[in-house]
Assembly symmetry: none
């Protein structure tokens, strides 16, 4: 019984933690990593600022948890889009379609903020270590996607880097010929997985 109560409490606490982190993430996504404050997180969650420190040691650890949620979101987003086709040819087509879709929807603040958080944390040893671990969860899923079509994992990673590079380029104002982007992407991917 006692352990039941304890369990309930733990579950409640975990729920609360997540709620806070989600609000933090929303703020990070909308205002940028270095423009969001603990005050706002507290206000958004409807608790006092002190309460945040019952669930998180520091702003840093809140950022890390928020980052984890972002990674989870992106994983789910991609997961749903991953082609289930069995024939290799159809799968190839589906992948091209998938990435065209992703790219079309850029600038996705989500992806950009993911890199913002990562890049901004490079001088924070402790933080970057934890973030990179979470980030791995996200990209390893993507690399697998390519694995069937390319000679080795490194090429898979490079292709994924290309996609993210395009996203960042779009976000920071590189001017793509809007109509040319998807066909060009298809052209490139086609060449490689052929």
């Amino acid at each position: 019984m006692v352990s039941d109560t304890k369990n309930k409490k733990l579950i409640y606490k975990e729920k609360r933690r997540k709620e806070i982190a989600e609000n933090a993430l929303d703020l990070i996504l909308s205002k940028g990593l270095s423009n969001f404050t603990m005050d706002e997180v507290a206000k958004e969650t409807g608790v006092s600022k002190g309460t945040l420190y019952l669930y998180f040691d520091s702003k840093d650890s809140l950022i890390i948890t928020a980052f984890g949620i972002l990674v989870e979101r992106l994983k789910n987003y991609i997961g749903k889009l991953i082609p289930k086709e069995t024939s290799k040819e159809e799968k190839a087509k589906a992948i091209i379609k998938l990435y065209s879709k992703i790219i079309k929807e850029f600038p996705s603040d989500d992806l950009l903020r993911l890199f913002e958080i990562l890049i901004n944390s490079i001088h924070n040893k402790k933080r970057i270590k934890e973030l990179v671990e979470l980030f791995h969860e996200y990209y390893s899923q993507l690399f697998e996607l390519w694995s069937e079509f390319v000679p080795n994992k490194t090429i898979a990673i490079i292709l994924q880097a290309m996609i993210d590079g395009i996203g960042i380029y779009k976000s920071v104002g590189v001017d793509f010929e809007e109509g040319e982007l998807c066909p060009s992407l298809e052209f490139i991917i086609g060449k490689i997985i052929s």
Copy 2:
């Protein structure tokens, strides 16, 4: 004579401006955009904080100037490596070699910080506008490199995005098989410009 003295002063002033901006850039590169302060720039340059404002209107304009220097650095770095070969075939080989070199030297904090500054400035309308203009100077040079080998400019941009994407990936801790990276890159570029 008078104009000589004036000229000397202007040159001196310009030199001072650059000195400050370079110190600012160093600090940005070493501590990150959101961790560097005017106090530190002053200390590093050996002047008082007030002096900085004789040369720059605001922290923002100092950041923009520092960014300009960074862009210039990257341009020079690339400029020196750009192949002068005339035969198309040799040029192709040279490009592959060039990018292998660039990638090998990553994680170059320079490139990463360039994107950090850009990404972090997205919520600052005035600043991002000026940064993007400077950024254009950098990447347009690169796009030209590819133009001979690809059907359109967009593909050139995508290839460059891929290179930058790899740089960012390396910087944030994606683990490339060190030995595989360059050959893989060559494989991809080869496929595309073939």
Copy 3:
């Protein structure tokens, strides 16, 4: 009960706000509007500077609140002195006496500072708007005093302007024949309300 606690807190908070504003007012009165700093207000109140900003959005809003207290003080001061006589003749005499008293007590820094704050805020659109609203509370009370004896409101205002003008003159060092001031005032008022 809950609402009781809440109430207590609100009252406490309001008390604190007032305490801060009163200290600010004291400083304004003693050092002048453009010489008082948030640091001093904090020190005087015995709190940290940051705390001030829990109670006031800005220095401006603190000034406005302090000004409100000053207006209130002046209103109370005048309120107590306002004649309750019913016969018009007696009331006239009482008014003359009232103003003689006010003038005798000059230079009242209070009144002078009231105008200092107003005059110094003329280039601050937002602030002056709020100050003038508060100022109205003060002088409309005074104008009524005269209304019974003069043909129109404008004359009432002018008479009040005269009183304030004398106050300012005394404060800035115009040398009145001390013994002549009150009789002269009585002479003038007598002429007008006759």
Copy 4:
């Protein structure tokens, strides 16, 4: 000869001093006493900031000199308007007209700034002493104007205080019935000098 050169220099220096002070005054009139800077004075005069300190010991002494010029200006303005009529009756009418004119032209920033400078200097012992001396030059001229029509000097001062009070009231936003102001003023003055 030597003394001639010296003289010339002195004259030149005095001219320069005045030029600087006039620019300072213009800035004070347009931006307010606590909003003008030595930088702006230098820029406006076309000299370096350091040069200002060859002509003035401090910002304070520049303010005092500028104040003197303002007083001079007001004296000239009034001087020109002072009635030269010989018959007492005509002179009375002329005075009423004169003050109607002055009041109509309010809010004259000039007069308001005169009081702003005075009021703001009350906590600056050295400065206020010098200002008051200059101020006397201005108002003593005005008091004489009334002297013929009133029983004593104090009443003359009070009437002048009334005029200045109206000016200040207008400047800080007291709402006069525009059409009523001059007739009311005439009514009051008429009553007193009758």
